[in-house]
Symmetry: C2
Subunit: 620 residues, 2 copies
């Protein structure tokens, strides 16, 4: 227990719950890290697709970024309303389920689960990928580094939400601070120089154009850029984690996150255009990330450059943390509706849904191992989940306001949000289908099917075990007790005493394998029957079963089932003596007949057959 | 079951036992394969050490072989007497235990166990090694081939002894037939040519001498040659497997095996000298085994050559089978004395001690995997076990005849045997100590220690559970029954009914984790107490335990132990309802509280705490 405490903190009582909640300044790193860090790869992803347009391509980043920012503003207002309406946590799953029904709810649930797992995997591997490009000698340890960070995140998160906030505060604010300095300084230079700033370190020359602009290309650029929007829904999912006044704190946090993201996206786009900075081929040797070029152009390659790049690396790899904060809450919400195993509802030592964290770690680890820690290819997949969830959530809000009545204005805000994100979803789906979006299109129905099966199981269980009536007391008779018995010793004596104390009908069963000496049969009359008769108690019966093939378990199970048939509605209790040894390895010295017998009785038995373990402690 | 039958044969009843026993012609392959196949590596091992003596070295193989044959004859007469005296199977372990006491018996047991495992590993890998030298393209699959042969042997042996005899008859007789033809033909040529035969295919030239003969070298040569004697004890261990008249059949088999082995050893030695055939360096490219050179020299490299080499390869790899025939019998004998786990006594479907076979396969497989299928280095180790067992067994026989009285002649035969093999043991130990014999010297005491610990455990268990008195009937009272109860459903109703049927004292325990709705407490009065009072039955009690840390198992276990303390000598029965699902994966949907609770009660509980499983079958 001591080691557990040290690693994960002391257990928290249910009453401590309030104290575990947070305000906006701690909420920003926890719920904003994913959204903000996507500024590091969203614009880059868009610019990479613009490389073939050469010098001209860089110009298009401004309108594309404006389109994304417009979408972001729409989504922002939409989610403000969600927080207002669902202070218990209005994730897309909750909103879609409550307003659109179970089908759309499950669709949102599946999309979000996939999305969180991808967020964790891509976040970690993107961070490690950046680190590895900066320090090439670490390249061979990519997977180990990824798994190491996953482990670190797991330990940090198992300590509980508040501690997590503290651990992520510094990197997040460092990332924001340095990038904002770059943007402000850059824009100052641009203004001073009348729109033509002189870079401190010149960015690499852009290649010549090899293709012309098409609508199809612009759609793909926009789709890639949209990855900058992932993570925006985090706050509305986690409203519950905020301290009172809950809604206000959550909305403030959301506002700050979106405002900062807009500043980052707009700043990066404008400076890229002013300094003529484009993406470089991520596969080639001369690769230099957009933010690295930008920082070098604005501030030179001094200490400030390395601090900035360092904080980007750190934040990227920690962005996975948003998934740790929200995935367990999501699985809990789904499990509360009986669509996922109930273990996701249980809270662990530190008031966290530890099983949700375990599941996230398992799938993320599996993805990382499967792809050897290089999950760049997964980036296109994961805008789909996000936009599917956006669309469903906002469509749900439209219905919500409709039901409330008198809220035309709010209906319009969410309707516009739903329409815009739905359109974007279609664009992303079409533009990225062959790049990997098809995987998500297969996975989501599969997940929905599994969740439906889980639900059917729980429903059936509830139906079968429901007991609307009070305790029935007719026909209460002690069970017939059956004891398998090899020879006479203290263990069989203890069993027999217990059996006779609980029921007047006791049957000892002896399996005769043909090579037995000292069997119970030889002493039964003297050691059992005589004292029983003398005491005038109900007499136990001894049954011998021949077993020519030396099987032991099977004849007993068959005998029990045959007796049960004869007795009809009566219960049969099979008494199984069990040796309990002091050290696990001593189990090797005793055949595991007792456990095997219990297992077989459970598998082949029925409601009427009950197993009683009589433990016998050796060497105590 | 069908698949098992096909692989391992139908189960055999205990009464079928007689029919499973064998005569000399089937006994020869089963018990003689190991002894006879060692003719293929014993002389070669001796000749390899003689390489540095060059041309002169080959001359010394004749006196060395004669010394080994003399030893073999002594051992033969010794073991004849053992078979006579121990028709139930007179392995070294039995004889040493019966006559010298447990200490020497365990020493023999440890030596033999190591020996059998080495026999299996070395036999398989020597066979595969030879095959691989003949077909070099198979070299990369060495380990896979070894494990494949191990699997094959396992399946064959699990079918039972008689079937095994048939499977090994052909290769053994082919091996004997071809080698005897080579020897007879060779000696005919020698006689015709007046001692200077002309080889059909000339053997490779012997290298020039690089060293002179020393006593130390001769001791090492003799020690290596002695590996030819391993496997001789097999018949006396397995007397029981022979059909009536048991002793006569066993002795006939032993006589035939020893006679054939002598012919092989003598023939090989004489022909090597006559044809001037020496060993070649096993590591070098031009390696050609002694038997291969000999066959080629006598009969040329035609079809007969390949048949001969093929049968040698086959018999070498199958020689491991002697271990399969005897190891399980040995472990059974040791287990009958409580020095090994009792599972080794149980007989499986086909009247075999399947656990012994499993243990042999496990250790052999482990050795093969550890050494990558190349166990040539283990050859020096394994004469030690054999000679240690020889010595102890024959020393035991001396004591046996002494106790019988009137058997001076027999005492002398076994005394000579014991002295000769004891001396050889010392020689082998000294000559091979640094080559690896030290491993055996460490392993044997370790094994003896483990066996002693096993024995102590069984002794203590027997002492603790022994019950020399008849059933005591005073103080028979129904136990107090405790049922953990969450909410009211059919499962809790069933449990409560069972509890009330077996005892008037029932206590329902509810763990309150602070976030419970629909708990049992809300319906207890209406659904339980009212009907019970109406029926005038003893009233069950409801106890609520607060659990602020949301632990569930721990509070129940603590409560049970506290109650038990209060009750003193009374039994407490904890009733644990258990969901039985139809498919294993459905277990994922139900938390494993029931199993965990049972485990904790077993671990933390005591003799007075009994667990009752009430199964509830879902979807039946």
């Amino acid at each position: 227990m001591r080691t557990l405490d040290l690693l994960f903190g002391r257990p928290l009582a249910t009453l401590d719950e309030r104290a575990e909640q947070i305000g906006p300044s701690a909420g920003l790193p926890i719920f904003g890290l994913d959204a903000l860090s996507s500024a590091a790869y969203g614009p880059e992803a868009a610019l990479t697709l613009l490389i073939p347009l050469g010098f001209m391509g860089v110009r298009y980043i401004v309108p594309v970024s404006l389109a994304i920012i417009a979408l972001l503003v729409i989504v922002y207002f939409s989610y403000r309303q969600t927080i207002e309406a669902y202070p218990q946590g209005g994730g897309s799953y909750t909103v879609a389920t409550a307003n659109l029904g179970q089908g759309p709810g499950l669709l949102a649930a599946a999309a979000l689960m996939i999305d969180y797992i991808l967020t964790a995997a891509v976040g970690i591997s993107a961070g490690v990928g950046a680190l590895v490009s900066a320090v090439p000698s670490l390249h061979q340890h990519t997977l180990a580094l990824c798994l190491g960070i996953l482990l670190l995140l797991t330990v940090i998160n198992l300590r509980g939400v508040r501690d997590t906030g503290v651990a992520f505060l510094v990197p997040t604010y460092l990332f924001l601070g340095t990038l904002l300095i770059v943007i402000v300084l850059g824009i100052f230079h641009v203004l001073v120089r009348g729109g033509h700033p002189i870079p401190v370190v010149a960015p690499p020359k852009l290649p010549a154009a090899t293709t012309a602009l098409t609508w199809w290309l612009m759609l793909k650029v926009f789709s890639s850029g949209c990855t900058a929007m992932t993570g925006v829904e985090a706050v509305s999912n986690g409203v519950m984690a905020f301290r009172e006044p809950t809604r206000k704190n959550a909305k403030t946090t959301l506002t700050v996150i979106i405002a900062l993201l807009i500043v980052l996206l707009a700043g990066i786009a404008l400076l890229c255009r002013a300094y003529t900075i484009g993406a470089t081929d991520p596969g080639s040797a001369g690769y230099d990330s957009v933010l690295s070029q930008l920082t070098a152009a604005v501030a030179g390659k001094g200490i400030f450059y390395y601090v900035t790049i360092g904080s980007i690396l750190l934040v990227l790899s920690l962005s996975a943390n948003t998934a740790f904060a929200d995935f367990p809450r999501l699985t809990r919400a789904i499990a509360l509706h009986d669509y996922l195993p109930h273990v996701f509802i249980l809270r662990g030592r530190r008031l966290l849904y530890s099983h949700g964290i375990a599941a996230l770690v398992f799938f993320t680890g599996a993805l990382l191992i499967l792809f050897g820690g290089v999950t760049d290819r997964l980036i296109p997949l994961y805008a789909i989940g996000a936009f599917l969830a956006f669309t469903l959530s906002q469509a749900g809000m439209v219905v919500h306001w409709y039901k409330e009545g008198n809220a035309i204005g709010r209906m319009i805000v969410n309707g516009v949000g739903s329409f815009a994100t739905g359109l974007t979803l279609l664009v992303v789906l079409v533009a990225k289908f062959l790049d990997g979006a098809w995987i998500t299109v297969i996975l989501i129905p599969a997940l929905i099917m599994i969740m439906s099966m889980v639900h059917r199981h729980y429903e059936r269980t509830a139906r079968e075990t429901a007991c609307p009536d009070p305790l029935r007391l007719q026909g209460l008779r002690p069970p017939r007790v059956i004891i398998p018995m090899d020879r006479w010793n203290r263990i069989s004596e203890k069993g027999l005493r217990f059996a006779m104390a609980m029921s007047p009908e006791v049957q000892a069963v002896h399996v005769d394998c043909g090579d037995e000496e000292n069997s119970i049969c030889q002493v039964w009359e003297d050691f059992v029957m005589k004292p029983v008769r003398a005491a005038g108690l109900p007499e136990p019966e001894l049954v011998t079963i021949k077993s020519p093939y030396r099987f032991f378990i099977q004849p007993i199970v068959e005998h029990v089932l045959a007796e049960q048939k004869k007795l009809g509605d009566r219960q049969i209790a099979v008494l199984v003596p069990e040796l309990v040894v002091r050290h696990w390895y001593e189990n090797l010295l005793h055949n595991q007949r007792a456990n095997l017998l219990k297992l077989m009785l459970l598998v082949k038995g029925n409601e009427k057959v009950v197993v009683i373990n009589i433990p016998w402690y050796l060497h105590k």
